[in-house]
Symmetry: C3
Subunit: 264 residues, 3 copies
């Protein structure tokens, strides 16, 4: 194990991997800009007619069900299978799982048919998927029983993937180890799509370090959290924080990032 | 009558109602962020497969036809009917009614099949729906005959709802009383989707004060207008004004809001 | 020939033409806001049921295939043909042509069935369409052989339109003359959708100067580039640059614009 978000960020900026994202309407611009600010290349493409060809060019595939509908779900499944066939790692964001049956069932179907490397969600969403009692209000997690570290480990074991559970402290687990990431800022909760952005950043890091998804997942959250800390510095509220987040992602310094990452 | 946007805002922030929005692609991020900045929880969901389940969890439903197409219209109708059945108040934004027959007909169909609590539009859109001569250029109102207060009252009476007609001065009517709201700033017209945001904010206030939609509608426009005044203070143009609007919504102070609201 | 971006901008702000945009999900808010900041009126409408009626009201139609799918392509074709019938000039942005067959084929189909006035793309996209060797990574051009001025001229000749090829220096050609535009800033590459914005601005200028698309195309890129130079002045990174771009578009001064435009 050699955790170094700085090194992974440096590699990512050098290689500029294409990160194919099939995501929701609310955050498309935001996750594309986060990807670009970090140093990777985003591409948004969801047509059944092109997703298989597009994903084969990519360093990672990000699937996010935030505003799902049947044709999009079909594209997610097709892209996910093509990614698996081409050895492209897949990140899944189960936005709102637990809020409606359609969301929960769709996530289960994707997990069933696609080999997902990292599942990045909030506590309520992840708890829903492993049968732990949770309350999800729309797309917000508002109450989950149990310790988040246990939740991450259980999800990783039961679902056979790396579970990345974000909250005040994030927990990333491959079923054996659990890494806690204590970076971030409370203003993240005041801007829509910051969870989706952390998923996109996870895709970027995974594209740069695909062999160790546990570490890529934790490093991504540390990097995103450090950028949030920087953005919060001069923010007057959620609007200026949101803008500052892209400036901070672009300005992330690989050297100090390693010192500032609070991964344990 | 006890108009107090400050009190309603305080209630809203305490209860954090879920505001389900079926809105247009252009402003989804913007209305979600305005909702969140104000203190409520947004959720965007448009699939026929989940809208009925989602809206039953919500404190209000916002329907906005800005980039309508047949599957979305079906979802709007299904969600609207489910909202009615569950006692969830519905706000409708008839974006671009009058510009094309498809928009005008769709709004009429929604008004026919769904019990709408508040109809929030510009003068040209509302005039179109009550048969008053108006010119709508794309989604902008560029010329309407008659006084806006009369228009609001007529629309409220003819359509059996609260009509919220925004302009330089806004007018909100339940068919009997007309409340004029004189807050706001001209920079609102320089940013796309600020009308849609005012509709989302109306949904938030309605979720917090559902029994008096006339007051909720006027208070929402006053609160949004005061936030715009604050945002304009340091703005250098439409871009920085737009960012400042979220900061200002989050910073709205319930105490001074009551003093600053210009509702008559 | 009388190149004057300042004069065209003044005309545009006076007439406030409606610019109908059928564009991608990622940049809809951004291109609408760029259009509005510049002084024109944007309208986003993509339903087969209304595009023909909407485009007849417009001063220009912008088609952008960034997140294409079959129903949207049908709407683009219908709107494009209706625009041609009504004498409304059409701008096409072939986002990602060359990355997948679906994108390349769709652009060719649109060029075949619709009379396009200006084709605005990056070097890789334009090269793909005229059979010049190019590498397109997602929606980014990462390597094209040959001089961009020759590429613009060849594309204009072969496709029978004005080709507007953006890059470090932009080249706009009608097949005979080639205008080079040397405005802009490297931060444009750090924000998603700035190419799409330049296409929307091209649509605005074309609506104000439809008889000379070569000049309208070059003037639009000069104006957008000058705004980018202004926005870069106080920017701390891609986020604040993005915000500043709208402020700068709104603040563009027609008098100094002519002096600052570097068109040769």
């Amino acid at each position: 194990m050699s955790l170094s978000p700085g090194k992974t960020l440096r590699d990512l900026r050098e290689r500029k991997p294409l990160v194919h994202q099939i995501t929701n309407y609310v955050v498309m611009n935001e996750t594309a800009n986060a990807t670009l600010a970090l140093g990777a290349l985003p591409v948004m493409a969801h047509a059944r007619e092109e997703v298989e060809e597009m994903v084969a060019l990519a360093g990672a595939l990000v699937i996010n069900i935030g505003t799902l509908s049947p044709p999009w779900v079909e594209a997610m499944l097709a892209a996910g299978k093509a990614a698996n066939a081409a050895g492209v790692p897949v990140v899944l964001d189960p936005v709102g799982a637990g809020a409606t049956r359609y969301r929960t069932d769709t996530v289960k179907r994707i997990l069933d048919e696609v080999d997902v490397a990292v599942l990045r969600g909030n506590q309520g969403e992840i708890a829903t998927l492993v049968g732990v009692q949770a309350e999800v209000r729309g797309v917000e997690s508002v109450g989950v029983g149990g310790a988040p570290a246990d939740l991450a480990r259980t999800a990783a074991r039961n679902l056979g993937l790396v579970a990345s559970v974000t909250g005040v402290v994030d927990h990333v687990s491959d079923g054996k180890r659990v890494l806690a990431v204590a970076n971030g800022h409370e203003l993240l909760a005041a801007v829509t799509g910051t969870g989706c952005m952390s998923t996109a950043v996870t895709g970027c890091f995974l594209a740069a370090k695909r062999d160790v998804p546990l570490e890529a997942g934790a490093e991504a959250l540390a990097a995103f959290g450090v950028a949030a800390e920087d953005a919060a510095h001069d923010a007057k509220g959620p609007g200026s924080f949101h803008v500052g987040l892209y400036d901070a992602l672009a300005a992330l310094d690989p050297v100090t990032l390693d010192e500032r990452a609070r991964i344990s």
